[in-house]
Assembly symmetry: C2
């Protein structure tokens, strides 16, 4: 009898698995059911369609159902919802959403690639006109349509999608307010890093951001059109367009009902071969949990790039080959106007939660040789485990070339490289591409010194506590007097590097905290002072240029 | 007695070592002699100064001699040439080039950082006005001055500097001819890769390129101004500006005379700690040879990024610390108009010369999601050792984001990663930055299949030979008929993928060579045919879009 692979879901993982299985096995019967009108589309591209960077929604379609049928011999059933899986007899129940007709189909292998859905909180007025979520192409068509007449938008949620939408809305001339429950935007970054982006959005892009608050109701006029958004803390924001982008949830219900094991993250548990707890049933994409390679623990990080890899691995195993998916690092990138925010691995928050003892370096640096007119700033924050010296995470933000640098550390992390080993890496250099010593190597040098305990530094978060607790210390700022006058920390003293060396060695300060512009000069000065025998010297990570854009510090920093 | 470090040379390695030594040791006396007027400048930035991207030459100066004196307590002696080293008594003889005065100075440690100089072949008329080399800031000031009145330029040499200059000259409106002795431009790339750039320069940028020829004389008018350049093969090129950029030579004479060992590459031999064969004498930067990490053999690859690292390692060891420089991968990048050309490790030529059995994948791919309007093409050529499956080299060219992708493979090479291990890497993805499966991962997948011998492909160079020898084969082109009509290989048959599968399995061809647009579709088709049991199928690396820009193929490809 001909073997039959049934795939549930037609976006990244499902279609990737269909193509791959077909290439590896010409005799397999393959049927793909999806309850959507489209298959094989780029969900990640929808914000760019809304922004009209992509003019036509058809551009988002990677392959048409017809191409799948004729070229790959995969039977694609659009608008067909699988309503039940009965593993006992290897059957699925399918409902044709157009005709309402129900029927059964029998599989040899089943792949669950049901993806995720936008989480929509149960808020009053959620069904008003012009209140949307963004998950599918259909959603994005409606939002793009609304944009034509809208004047004032509210975005609920300050994650990747929320911020990408903020760009589209501002570029279309809308007043834009973001409401976020958490105390920071972009939860995958540490608050000091995401704080830079918040300052940028508010001050350069005129986006209003409300943190630590949530929407309690959407209000409308007599025609049922949205007019206002009300928050828990009592704010009222006028709006004629709202998008809810508070996150996604894995579509696991059908798997759960079939008795398939669900992991602790709430997504379907699979082994490295993408097999579920029931033989012959595989799962892939946004609906499954995988292992975080850094912590070794289960994690649910739904991303299109991961879904593609899942689909490939599942297909190879289904056709009798052998492949493993060895977990994720949580690599991600997003573009927010001219800003790039990119991450991989753990941040300070997740490292602390996992109980990893880590060291961190923060460096702001031009992405190209400083004399190139188009050189732009990037800030790197790199974490390494103290015990092993291995990289455990990187965050890179800025208007310059940040994302590809994260991929370099992602590769180092996959190879289990230590910071010292990485310092041997021979990176390319030419003035239009990087400084002669790449910012990655600069950050790794600082990190190595900190791991060796040759120097110590204080992070913005630690410093905040330190200053609040009024611990005895001398904060010295080694920038030029004119720079000091513009912005400086409360109670800081402006001292030239030369004076610093002369004066501070003889005195017995509890702790000298050295501050400069970007964290490099104070690092070098602290190296010098240490070399001279001064033990109690610490530099401030990132320098004043970093601190001054962290919202909490804006109060603590005196301007002139 | 106070220890004294004397450094000869004041560009990258020399100044880096001075700063680093000072930071690590406050008591050391440091003197730096240079025969130039400038120190601590970016030689790599000079083409951008000439192109007026950088308006003022002072921008190229990283640090001033004054800053070195006051901030670092390093005594900088400009226009002072060290004429002799006498290791017997730890002395150098120095000549003040302004006063002609000579004197001796005594060192505890000596660092030779004499760099390299432009090689100028002994050609008639080399001293005519408007014939230059490009090595120092002074050279670049003269060339920039000449540009104002020049109309027709000749560049001798088609390496990085030659091509960077071609851009400056064309952008300034000059007719520009490049004369290169080798049969290809950019010798660090394989000829099929550099051929793409040659076609681009000739057809899109109107740069004339003469290969396999060299200059025999420069002719001038009665005022001694350049008017013509004559080549060995009898070409005459009108020119009122010429720059010789045929390469550089290490400045080793003073070291050699002092009895310091010179390596087989012709540069100063040092150990990993940058020590020469004479105790207390170190060497760093363009004047030393290092180890190629891939081959394990000595190599001379003068680059600013390497020089910086050399300087750092030498300084640490001089002050009593311990540091190693573990060799180079030969990572480099250059910008040629909108094109990027970037390399790391071995190419096919150098792999063959080293006797390494390798496998190669060539992939052309958009650098971003295909639907993003600013997505641009890049071509990756990745090499892995057949026995170990480890990466041994990458070349990346194109108008898209190529260079940072080379850094990812450079990191993988430093970590000794295999292609299969790399496929676990979790790279970032968002439509403005990359396709959902990064071109690096696509290329690594193809390479893995080739290493496993699941598929076979033929490189442009092998194909050329194959076709010349008229070996029995069927060349089938699976692109659309309208694409086929535009360009196709001689004797190729246009067959749809569907027909291919139907027809070719039954027939007993010696070899089926499958060609598509960019090498991916033919790769996928050959996987399918192999799966169906067809053994004699091979795909053509890179596809027609790659072949059609290789100069040798332009004759063999029929246009319509």
């Amino acid at each position: 009898m001909q073997e039959h692979l049934i795939i549930i879901g037609g976006v990244a993982a499902g279609t990737k698995a269909a193509s791959k299985a077909r290439r590896e096995n010409q005799d397999l019967k393959i049927t793909l059911y999806t309850d959507e009108k489209y298959i094989s589309y780029s969900a990640c591209g929808t914000p760019y369609y809304i922004a009209d960077v992509i003019k036509n929604e058809n551009k988002l379609l990677v392959r048409s159902p017809e191409a799948f049928k004729t070229k790959e011999n995969v039977d694609i059933k659009l608008l067909h919802r699988v309503t039940e899986i009965t593993p006992e007899n290897n059957k699925v129940t399918v409902k044709n959403l157009e005709t309402e007709e129900e029927f059964e189909d029998e599989y040899t292998y089943l792949l669950i690639a049901t993806g995720s859905r936008a989480f929509v909180p149960p808020v009053k007025g959620i069904n008003l006109n012009n209140v949307y979520k963004l998950k599918s192409i259909s959603d994005s068509i409606k939002i793009k349509q609304s944009l034509k007449s809208a004047k004032k938008a509210v975005i609920v949620g300050a994650g990747y999608i929320g911020l990408e939408l903020a760009e589209s809305f501002r570029e279309s001339g809308l007043q834009t307010t973001i409401i976020e429950k958490a105390p920071q935007i972009l939860g995958t970054l540490d608050p000091d890093m995401s704080g830079q982006i918040k300052t940028y959005l508010e001050e350069e892009k005129d986006v209003k951001i409300i943190l630590k608050d949530s929407v309690v109701s959407f209000k409308g006029d007599e025609k049922g059109n949205l007019t206002q958004v009300q928050t828990e803390k009592g704010e009222t924001v006028d709006a004629d367009l709202a998008v809810i982008a508070v996150g996604v949830k894995p579509n696991i219900e059908i798997a759960k009902e079939a008795g398939i094991e669900i992991g602790e993250s709430g997504a379907i548990r699979v082994n490295k071969r993408m097999q579920t707890s029931i033989p012959d049933i595989y799962a892939a994409g946004d609906c499954v949990e995988t292992i975080n390679r850094v912590t070794g623990k289960p994690a649910w990080v739904p991303l299109g790039s991961t879904a593609n890899k899942h689909g490939r691995v599942a297909a190879i195993n289904i056709v009798g080959g052998y492949a493993e998916f060895n977990g994720i690092l949580g690599s991600a990138v997003t573009k927010i106007f001219e800003y790039t925010a990119s991450v991989c691995g753990l941040n300070e928050k997740t490292a602390r939660n996992t109980g990893i003892d880590y060291e961190v370096a923060i460096i702001s640096h031009r992405d190209k040789s400083g004399y190139m007119p188009d050189a732009k700033e990037i800030t790197l924050k790199i974490l390494a485990e103290r015990e092993t010296g291995k990289f455990i995470g990187i965050q890179a933000i800025g208007k310059g070339d940040a994302d590809k640098r994260v991929n370099v550390i992602a590769t180092a992390m996959t190879a289990d490289m230590t910071v010292s080993e990485f310092l041997n890496t021979d990176l390319t250099y030419a003035p239009p591409y990087s400084p002669s010593i790449d910012p990655l190597l600069v950050a790794a040098q600082v990190l190595e010194k900190k791991l060796e305990k040759s120097i110590s530094s204080i992070s913005p978060q630690q410093l905040h506590k330190y200053l609040e607790e009024k611990k005895p210390c001398a904060v010295v700022d080694i920038r030029k007097p004119e720079e000091f006058e513009q912005w400086h920390l409360e109670n800081a003293k402006n001292i030239s590097p030369e004076e610093l060396e002369e004066n501070f060695l003889s005195k017995n300060y509890e702790n000298i905290l050295i501050c400069c512009d970007e964290g490099m000069k104070s690092y070098l000065e602290s190296l010098k002072l240490k070399e001279k025998g001064c033990k109690n010297v610490t530099f401030i990570d990132g320098g004043i240029n970093y601190l001054k854009n962290i919202p909490e510090y804006r109060k603590k920093i005196n301007k002139g």
